[in-house]
């Protein structure tokens, strides 16, 4: 089930196992049959830790989604709420408990499991509603870093960026530090910590403090990671705004990947049996899991989309040839061998069929005129063309009432690529947006300003060209088929964040001191002393392992770029990626928008 987690340089199965063990221990505390009431948001992340079978082995018989009103009937001894510590969820739980039929026998026992942390405020809230005493077990489940793939961990904390940069609430940073401590407990203390940004500084401080305060965390595990690189998202606001052009990135941009699953329009995936005729074409979206367990997907996910077609066609030929083999199988032994390979070939065939369909769906979009126009404008901005005046395309999009998020993405991109917009340009955009989409979006525009995504240019200075040139963020000759630089993931633009990681590994940040000073927040280096016995003696030619932690979110294209660096022959560094949330420009901007009441009709 979790083979893909152990495929990378660091075996992340251990982390998953730790999570499963903790879950089992908790379930066993509530003796007898149980029903779990889920905070719906948690089912996705939990699915990456455990399947229903694990819960069933521990007498979980029913599962419900948390909803106001009365709890559904279920003949179980225990009702367990799995929830995030959010006040609005406490209200629902209180209602559920209060409406429980007291006369029923036998009585059901209530328990509550907070993920990732118990909250005093929430418990106080429950107490005020008079239900706190109803809970026998109130515990926490530290689901901080969830393994998504062999080289990828995420906290799936949706609002982390907003909380850190808009509300100065650092709770998610505390959780990040906690998650890193867990990781160190399993994989050894990380000897070197680098960081850039305010939040990175905080997390490093917390880690050092926690290590000092909990002597128990001194472990005798040989360190797996050589370096930890903490990066603030606000050091690189540009990258998530651009449209990702890798296969996985585009799937996420267009359909949104949630906890490694994607939902796709069903028409392309009609059931294979045609006997029933065309009338019951599926209407429910087709859901697919996407991770490196699927051989073909692992191969194409990080490629530029323009290089995917040729791989699929090559695969098709190989599979065809493999099936043709059956004609040459003469002896019983040969036939037997062919048959024994069938399951694997069949899996490959079905995988090829799925990705051929997905590629077709994506191609419909990437070949559309609007996609092209949008991309052209993005690339102009990123290469520094015409960033200081009102852009015609953006104006047209507003006039045609394209989705607001698209407009905001473009305007923010322009602002970031110009170190802020000229006051006149900014005012013009704002006015157009408010007149077309409604004045209440003043609130959203203010949030974007506070986050630094949309701002007036200070002192008339534009630093972006210097940053672009020094870090080589724009590459004119990009090779999409056989890339030689990370810029292939955006067909020209090399993600700033990943460039920082690359330059840190070689030749080191000292070479870019000037540019680092132009980017927000401090940059720093810390060392965690290890007992002499644990100090690494590197074998010649052995790669270093760096954990890059993106505070505030990371995109699939950035992940692809880091994987590309890991695979470079003379790279010398392999990367494992951690983040507070997997994001794309749309989900990111959305998290910063003011939640408006639905229209009154």
């Amino acid at each position: 089930m979790a083979a893909h987690l152990s495929s990378g340089r660091v075996n992340l199965t251990a982390l998953r196992e730790a999570g499963r063990r903790e879950l089992r221990e908790f379930l066993d505390k509530c003796a007898g049959s149980k029903a779990i009431v889920w905070d719906e948001y948690l089912t996705g992340p939990f699915g990456l830790i455990a399947q229903y079978s694990l819960l069933k082995e521990h007498e979980v018989e029913k599962m419900f989604t948390l909803k106001p009103g009365r709890l559904p009937q279920a003949d179980v001894k225990n009702i367990i709420f799995f929830v995030r510590p959010k006040l609005e969820l406490m209200d629902i739980i209180a209602e559920n408990v209060l409406r429980e039929d007291r006369g029923r026998s036998p009585q059901r026992d209530f328990h509550i499991l907070f993920v990732p942390r118990r909250s005093l405020l929430c418990e106080q809230w429950l107490k005020e509603q008079g239900v706190l005493g109803s809970f026998i077990h109130r515990e926490q489940y530290s689901l901080d870093l969830i393994p998504f793939d062999g080289d990828l961990l995420s906290m799936e904390s949706e609002s982390a960026f907003k909380e850190c940069y808009l509300e100065s609430d650092q709770t998610s940073l505390y959780h990040a530090a906690k998650g890193l401590m867990t990781l160190q407990a399993l994989y050894g203390t990380i000897p070197q910590i680098f960081g850039k940004g305010e939040c990175a500084r905080h997390v490093a401080n917390m880690m050092i403090r926690m290590r000092r305060e909990f002597p128990g965390s001194q472990n005798s595990i040989f360190p797996v990671f050589d370096t930890l690189l903490l990066l603030d998202r606000n050091v690189d606001l540009l990258t998530p705004l651009a449209t990702q052009l890798t296969y996985e990135g585009l799937i996420d941009e267009i359909y949104g990947i949630q906890n490694t699953y994607v939902k796709l329009p069903p028409e392309k995936f009609a059931p294979k049996k045609q006997g029933e005729g065309g009338k019951d074409l599926p209407t429910e979206p087709k859901k697919l899991q996407l991770n490196s367990a699927e051989e073909l997907y692992a191969e194409i996910r990080d490629k530029n989309f323009n290089a995917v077609g040729s791989v699929l066609s090559k695969k098709a030929k190989i599979i065809s040839a493999a099936f043709e083999e059956r004609h040459h199988a003469k002896t019983v032994g040969e036939i037997k061998q062919f048959v024994s390979q069938l399951p694997h070939m069949q899996a490959a065939r079905s995988s090829l069929a799925n990705h051929t369909s997905i590629a077709e769906l994506i191609k419909d979009i990437t070949t559309s005129e609007d996609f092209f126009d949008n991309l052209t404008v993005e690339q102009e901005f990123m290469s520094g063309i015409d960033t200081d005046k009102v852009n015609n395309y953006i104006e047209d999009c507003i006039a045609q009432k394209h989705p607001l998020i698209k407009i905001l993405r473009l305007v923010c991109l322009q602002s970031v690529c110009n170190s802020g917009l000229k006051q006149k340009v900014l005012d013009y955009y704002k006015r157009e947006i408010l007149q077309t989409y409604g004045y209440e979006h003043i609130l959203t525009l203010n949030n974007l300003e506070k986050a630094g995504l949309l701002k007036p240019q200070m002192g008339g200075r534009n630093n972006y060209p210097t940053i672009r040139k020094t870090l080589r963020l724009w590459m004119d000759d990009v090779n999409e088929q056989n890339p030689n630089d990370i810029s292939y993931v955006y067909s020209g633009y090399a993600p700033l964040s990943v460039r920082l990681a690359q330059l840190l590994a070689r030749p080191g940040w000292r070479s870019i001191e000037e540019v680092l000073k132009m980017l927000p927040g401090p940059h720093f280096e810390e060392r965690q002393q290890l007992p002499t016995g644990l100090q690494k003696k590197r074998q010649h030619g052995e790669n270093r392992v760096t954990l890059v932690f993106f505070l505030g979110g990371v995109t699939y294209a950035e992940i692809a770029a880091l994987r590309f660096l890991s695979q470079m022959e003379d790279g010398g560094t392999e990367y494992v990626i951690a983040t507070t949330k997997l994001i794309n420009g749309t989900s990111w901007i959305k998290s910063l928008m003011e939640k408006l009441e639905p229209a009154p009709f």
Partner: protein, 492 residues
């Protein structure tokens, strides 16, 4: 087996799906075709029945059988049916609680503190104290005691781990500050908020002027941020505004107050509220936006009242012919302008509902105005209005066609509204760029324009080629022939 293959072929090549296939041959992705064909060919080799393969089993929705979200549906469905009759209102509807109205008003800070120092967390210990959250590493010391004599540091540390502890002993302001500093150093927002809140108990609020409490916090910015976040989340508006005002964060005060209008459903009350917002200390531009917001809603209320009346009376033809789909209240400005161009186009500038009045009041740019008016009039197929929109007269009385948005855009909008070819070609002709003009004309079958353009370009070859695009024996064909003949004559 051959039947199965035929079925498969039919599936992949049936017209329904052809729409998705790639047609330009030299595209790299046309290679997908190949892989698709291969996939098809393989189908009939492989056993049709997928149930016994060793792939992960997936239910149709794609959820792997046995995954948590799949199981929720599965295990819940049995009980849903039994409940449906009794309590269907709860079972149906959106499954996300976000859709349920959040009882904002019920969150009040004061309810958190019914008694003095209610946040003494020892009260929480009634049942749960003996259970420890499972942790990866657990220092032995924690098993031992429940002494309430924790130092500030230990208290914070315990709170961070969700352990029970009493805050009652931190009685003096000084003690509280030490505790708060510890909490801030720990960075756990949950704990920081909880500790910060012990400043705002009824006892404290009654003993000290609120400014003194605020001042204590002022030097602890982190604590303040958490408090502000908490007050926002719980909708404790009054204390929030007091605090922001004290901190001189006036713009935030203004925005935070303005945000409140979203919770007011009644339009009259909302209008009144917005009027009150105008004087708030926004930035200069935001002030003018808020002013516009108020003026717009005021205008919409007037228009809505009168139009609803007109509509129900059934006297006005336009409302009879095109009944309104929704009320105009709370719509954006541009939508309102569209509405006004649709229903009130000919009204004099003096009336509130006339487009020109809206344009003037809100200083709508020419481009925006023309686009909106064009879309509205085209939708009504009022081609004369469309024509008038682009006609300008100079002082000699000559008329000239001019469009601030470019005629290619005009054509697009007209085309979207199914304008007839005669109307369309008039504007296609006005597109300046020859290539764009040819493209549009060919796309929308404005034969006249295509023919004339090729004639002007003296492009015999293209013109001859275009002959096959027009109907045989039609006037268009004749026209082409005569031009071609003329060209021949001129050449020789």
């Amino acid at each position: 087996m051959s039947r199965a293959r035929a079925d498969e072929e039919e599936y992949w090549h049936s017209s329904k799906f052809r729409a998705f296939t790639f047609d330009d041959e030299d595209d790299e992705l046309s290679q997908l075709k190949e892989s698709k064909r291969a996939v098809n060919r393989l189908r009939d080799i492989v056993d049709d029945d997928d149930d016994d393969d060793d792939l992960e089993r997936v239910s149709w929705s794609g959820e792997p059988v046995g995954s948590i979200s799949w199981s929720i549906k599965e295990t819940a469905s049995s009980s849903t049916s039994s409940l449906e009759g009794r309590d269907s209102s709860l079972q149906k509807g959106s499954s996300s609680y976000a859709a349920f109205p959040k009882p904002v008003s019920s969150y009040s800070l004061s309810s958190l503190f019914k008694g003095e120092l209610c946040l003494s967390l020892s009260a929480l210990s009634d049942t749960g104290a003996k259970n420890y959250a499972p942790e990866l590493r657990r220092p032995k010391a924690e098993y031992k005691d429940y002494s309430s004599d924790w130092s500030p540091k230990d208290t914070v540390r315990r709170m961070q781990r969700g352990k029970v502890c009493s805050l009652e002993r931190f009685r003096s302001l000084q003690d509280k500050l030490v505790l708060l500093d510890e909490a801030v150093a720990g960075h756990d927002g949950n704990v920081i908020t909880a500790v910060t809140l012990i400043y705002f108990t009824p006892l404290y609020i009654s003993l000290f002027p609120i400014e003194i409490l605020f001042r204590e916090l002022e030097v602890r910015q982190v604590a303040l941020c958490h408090l502000i976040h908490f007050l926002k989340e719980t909708g404790e508006q009054k204390l929030l505004l007091d605090l922001l005002r004290f901190l001189d964060r006036t713009e935030e005060v203004a925005l935070s107050q303005y945000r409140e209008h979203l919770n007011i459903q009644d339009v009259e009350k909302r209008r009144e509220f917005l009027k009150g917002c105008i004087g708030l200390p926004f930035s200069a531009e935001d002030t003018s936006h808020v002013q516009d917001h108020y003026t717009l809603l005021e205008r919409q209320i007037i228009i809505e009242t009168s139009d609803r009346h007109l509509e129900t009376a059934g006297q006005s033809e336009i409302f009879r012919k095109y009944p309104r789909k929704a009320s105009i209240l709370n719509m954006p400005l541009v939508t309102t302008l569209f509405y006004s161009c649709f229903y009130h186009y000919t009204e004099a500038e003096g009336t509130f509902s006339s487009p020109t009045n809206l344009k003037k009041t809100f200083k709508i740019p020419d481009k925006q105005y023309v686009l909106t008016a064009l879309a509205a009039r085209a939708k009504l197929r009022a081609w004369d209005d469309v024509d008038a929109l682009f006609t300008t007269k100079n002082w000699l009385g000559y008329t000239k066609k001019k469009a601030p948005i470019g005629f290619h855009r005009v054509v697009e909008i007209l085309q979207k509204n199914n304008a007839p070819v005669q109307v369309l070609q008039e504007y296609v002709r006005l597109v300046e760029d020859v290539e764009t003009r040819l493209n549009l004309a060919t796309k929308y079958k404005c034969h006249d324009v295509v023919i004339e353009t090729y004639r002007d370009l003296k492009d015999r070859i293209q013109l001859t080629a275009y002959k096959c695009k027009v109907e045989r024996g039609s006037a268009d064909e004749e026209k082409i022939n005569s031009i071609l003949n003329n060209m021949v004559r001129n050449t020789y």
